[in-house]
Symmetry: C2
Subunit: 637 residues, 2 copies
């Protein structure tokens, strides 16, 4: 038996190369369930006999079912996006793991609901196991932490804010209750609003001992509602995903209490400015409700300096006696932490890591990854209070599977609920299970147990360390590096005597490559943006069938409004004047997450690149033709 995992054997493949295996397993998944049905009380009569099954209304109902599936297939084939192909480099989408697809289908037929243990005796356990895997990947103590599956990163982020908010109001509640106020005697409101997470949770242990936990909890935001102005500021990078704006709205905290943190030239949170803003709030005496660090910004794939946030918090605790909650939004980049873990799931020393990369051919000579700051950021994630991660992004699992992990599972009691019919003592003798029955401990209610099975199965087949996901994710990282370098050094594309230069926005922290085309000699930023927008349109569903496209990508617009001065730097580097920037104020970019496992082979990649050059050339040619026609029409009119 070979110990080495073969990455190509994990996916159906861009040409359905593994179709024989996939079909066989799908058949297995379905047959197993069918036998389970027919073997359940074999003495029971069947509902229908072949005779009734051949009555006209019966057959017609089946035929109508078939017709609807044909209709659906036609629709899917006409307009779906071929994520599975290396020709697609856009959103964080690629082929998904066969084992997760198969596990989903198999489990879906049993239809468990992970809201209640009673409705999902199997898959609740699988969700807890998958959660353990994630906690371990993040460097959390698996006995003290917990993680669970959500529908996606947005809900995971909500849950982070939810616990942070209720935790923040707990010391005030303790002070407000006659039976507990001695625990915080002599503390000012300012001190109460600035306690460390761990200190607050230790106090809740004391409340539980006194038998007054629920009484005091009813005095937190949960019971009395939010007093938005009082709880302080929520610091989020400007690169923020819009889910943070939604979170502040939903949780009743108000968007005006977000303090946006500027980004640096790499679209990471600017550490110096973050420190300035934080110290200013500290000096003012304004509490900080929480701070968000983004590990993999949605638009640039940048990795915030989590270690600097942790360090800053410690400084604040020492200097001002004021702490704050830290949430890491690693919806995109969370699984990348597996790149740093050895086979015992220990975070590797930098030098040992690089050596391992070379030995295992994960990252070849010539590719510099990770940058030191990225390494330090991933190392520090274990210090965050909670982390969002999306298995449906870099976990290569189909939608919808998000997750949230919490460093100290006692925090769940700040938000937990019980309902007579949903919640009962789990029948097992597993103590863990008894503590964390799902529906009453999370934001959502009903949820597909099949999702838990899909994530669990992925983690069983592909370990969350260098030998598993490390190999899968490494392929994209290396390819992204090559791609960014090609873009950085590419000769201009010459079409119709006009010359177009492509350049990346920056060298990626991870595997998102942003880039734009600029016509040499044309110094209008508006024209630049229009050109790139048109390229995007021609490379997406926006202009006809994606199935006929030679290359597919995504795009976004980086504006001064959202990013401050950082996009200006890129505009400058491309030769646009200050005046141009001041007039237009945004740069339209093409955006390629390099998730594909296909191109991690130099010969293949070079062929791909050469082909892509041809594609770009013909796209530019098409755009010039369009322009010429428009000009002609304009002249004629």
């Amino acid at each position: 038996m070979s110990d080495k995992m073969n990455v190509d054997a994990l996916f159906l493949g861009p040409k359905s190369e593994n179709q024989v295996f996939f079909k066989e397993m799908m058949d297995y998944a379905i047959s197993e369930h069918m036998h389970w049905r027919s073997d359940f009380h074999p003495e029971d009569a069947p509902l229908m006999t072949p005779v009734t099954q051949h009555q006209p209304d019966f057959r017609d109902t089946l035929y109508r079912t078939e017709g609807i599936l044909q209709d659906l297939s036609a629709r899917l084939k006409t307009k779906s996006v071929p994520w599975f192909s290396p020709r697609y480099l856009g959103h964080m989408n690629a082929d998904t793991l066969m084992v997760s697809n198969l596990a989903y289908v198999m489990t879906m037929l049993y239809n468990p609901n992970n809201c209640a243990h009673e409705a999902s005796p199997v898959t609740t356990e699988l969700e807890l196991a998958a959660g353990h895997d994630l906690c371990r990947m993040f460097g959390y103590d698996v006995n003290k932490s917990w993680a669970h599956i959500t529908s996606g990163g947005t809900v995971a982020n909500y849950e982070g804010v939810w616990v942070a908010r209720n935790l923040k109001t707990m010391p005030l509640a303790i002070a407000a209750c006659e039976k507990s106020k001695d625990l915080v005697e002599g503390m000012t409101e300012h001190q109460l609003l600035n306690m460390k997470s761990k200190e607050i949770l230790d106090l809740t242990d004391e409340l539980k001992k006194r038998g007054i936990f629920e009484e005091v909890r009813a005095l937190t935001a949960r019971g009395v509602g939010v007093d938005a102005g009082k709880l302080g500021k929520f610091l989020v990078p400007r690169s923020k995903h819009y889910s943070w704006m939604k979170a502040m709205d939903v949780l009743g905290l108000g968007q005006e209490h977000i303090v946006p943190l500027d980004v640096d030239g790499n679209y990471r949170t600017d550490v110096e400015k973050m420190r300035e803003v934080t110290f200013k709030l500290m000096e003012e005496g304004t509490p900080i409700l929480g701070m968000v660090s983004v590990v993999g910004t949605t638009e640039e794939g940048s990795i915030d300096a989590v270690h600097e946030v942790i360090k800053l918090r410690q400084e604040c605790e020492e200097k001002y006696g004021a702490s704050f909650y830290v949430h890491v939004d690693a919806a995109y980049g969370g699984y990348v932490r597996s790149m740093f873990l050895d086979d015992d799931n220990q975070f590797m020393e930098y030098d040992a890591l690089i050596e391992r990369y070379r030995n295992d051919d994960v990252i070849p000579e010539g590719v510099v990854w990770p940058k030191r700051a990225v390494y330090d950021a991933f190392a520090a994630m274990s210090e965050a209070d909670s982390i969002t991660v999306d298995p449906h992004k870099v976990g290569f699992i189909q939608y919808a599977a998000g997750a949230v992990a919490m460093k100290d599972k006692r925090i769940v009691d700040l938000i937990s609920y019980h309902a007579a019919y949903v919640f009962e003592e789990a029948g097992d003798d597993n103590e863990e299970d008894k503590q964390v029955v799902l529906g009453s401990s999370i934001m959502e209610g009903s949820k597909a147990g099949a999702t838990a099975a899909a994530v669990w199965a992925a983690h069983r087949l592909v370990p969350l360390n260098i030998s598993g996901y490390g190999h899968v994710i490494g392929r994209g990282i290396v390819t992204a590096d090559w791609f960014a370098k090609k873009l950085a050094t590419a000769e201009p594309f010459v079409v119709d005597g006009r010359r177009f230069e492509v350049r990346p926005l920056m060298h990626p922290d991870f595997h998102m490559v942003d880039f734009t085309f600029k016509e040499i000699g044309n110094d209008s930023l508006e024209a630049h943006n229009k050109l790139n927008q048109r390229i995007y349109e021609l490379c997406s569903y926006a202009t006809g069938r994606t199935y006929t496209k030679d290359f597919l990508t995504s795009s976004t617009s980086l504006s001064e409004e959202e990013y401050g001065q950082t996009p200006r730097l890129y505009a400058e580097s491309r030769g646009f004047s200050d005046n141009e920037w001041n007039t237009v104020g945004s740069v339209y970019i093409l955006r390629s997450a390099v998730m594909t496992h296909f191109l991690r082979d130099e010969i293949r990649f070079n062929n791909y690149w050469n082909n892509l050059r041809d594609v770009f050339t013909s796209l530019l040619s098409e755009i010039i033709d369009e322009e010429n026609k428009q000009k002609l029409a304009h002249t004629a009119a």
Copy 2:
């Protein structure tokens, strides 16, 4: 061709009777996708060749995949709950529609994400279409309303509270902005906090005309956060699902602002008391943030008098000039509205409805359904501001598929967001689609497009009216009626000379049948509860493999704390003294949602009942044996 839909042909069946068709279609679903892959740019080289596919590490990776699926199958078979069988009468679970299972699998392979139209060009449209279906079923004007899919009823309820909350603060925001305050000139704060939903939305139209909508919106709770005490009370029936407690916490409103409404003898909201409470708040000048009506309580399947809530609101508007938001939580019962719609989706007159039931043999002579109050409640749903409904309950669709419908789609602007990369102008010429791109208009972010396909496909095959879901749901309603009658009149079970009488909690409004066993002569309520709890344990996963059980059910406990005096009435009717009730304060019941389509045949049902009598007898016998053994052990010790 037969126009009649055959209900048995919709499901795989309790013995996998439709397995040939199901397998064929599953094969079709998968093959179609595989061809789509291999036909995409046929000129591209495959990633792997049979030679590489037969290398040891490749084969081993496949074998490991197979091993994980075998492990998963073993786990699922050991502990899953056989929802599909008529022997399961517990939670709202039964077999699910083949077409929805198949549509899910087919679509999952394309892996669309309905967060962004770009990531789901097909399934975003299917979700909008499925939403239209739901709006039409609820009697909403499909041009003015909208509905979308959520992960479940919990999130749908959150979204109802979210829009209600932000809407409630909009008039205050209008008054607070210099540019708009003329619109509410002369109005007191009390009046601002008590406006009709429609009036507020009309004002937002004016804000949009003035180009200041976003500016004013930033002054609502969304922007400035919640001031919990100010927004008034939220009225929820005592029968409330715990998601309402979670909702008040999550949305920052605080649970202490819930006013629980007492239930009547049928576990519906007590109309007289609801009116008293409401008028008292009106007299006090306390605003009502919203009122919830439950269509299908989770524990009893009771249908609140929605029409009385609508009438009450109108009275308040006329008498006090004060309105409030009305949300219907029809997570359980929403699809039942299809029972009332003719083939043109029009709500039928009562007499015509009953005649149609008889003609189509939906509800036979001798079964009285619906009660008039239930009919009126369903009729009035079209007047509610928003409605929660779970396709994964009485829509017979697999988990997780909830939904929320809003009567006036302008309300979405109170919560909508845009993110550069998620949100772009939809490419279609469909005006509807442009208005409602999903990720920015709902609470959740990423979501499986496959779920939308599953709901859409169900609605195509099974119309949301009397000819479609009416036939499917009608089967459960009739069976529930029969079951409740059998329980109400059953002769005592005689075991070992001891006699046990079974009785239903009440005759169901819908298809949830609650019941308990009582030993005749034993007047201890505690012993009664213990007996029924033990029956539940023996009929569930709590005592070993569900696969070996003869009957499976669910249970709950109805306490004075949660339900006020109503459960006492049942205890009294079973002969327990006031003293017993005052000591114990709760009654433990068995709870059977009769969803199965299997038993709607009198001969078959009578056989089933006779068999069930035997099962109950042997369960009681087993419990007596356990008791005797315990006594013996006790005596011996």
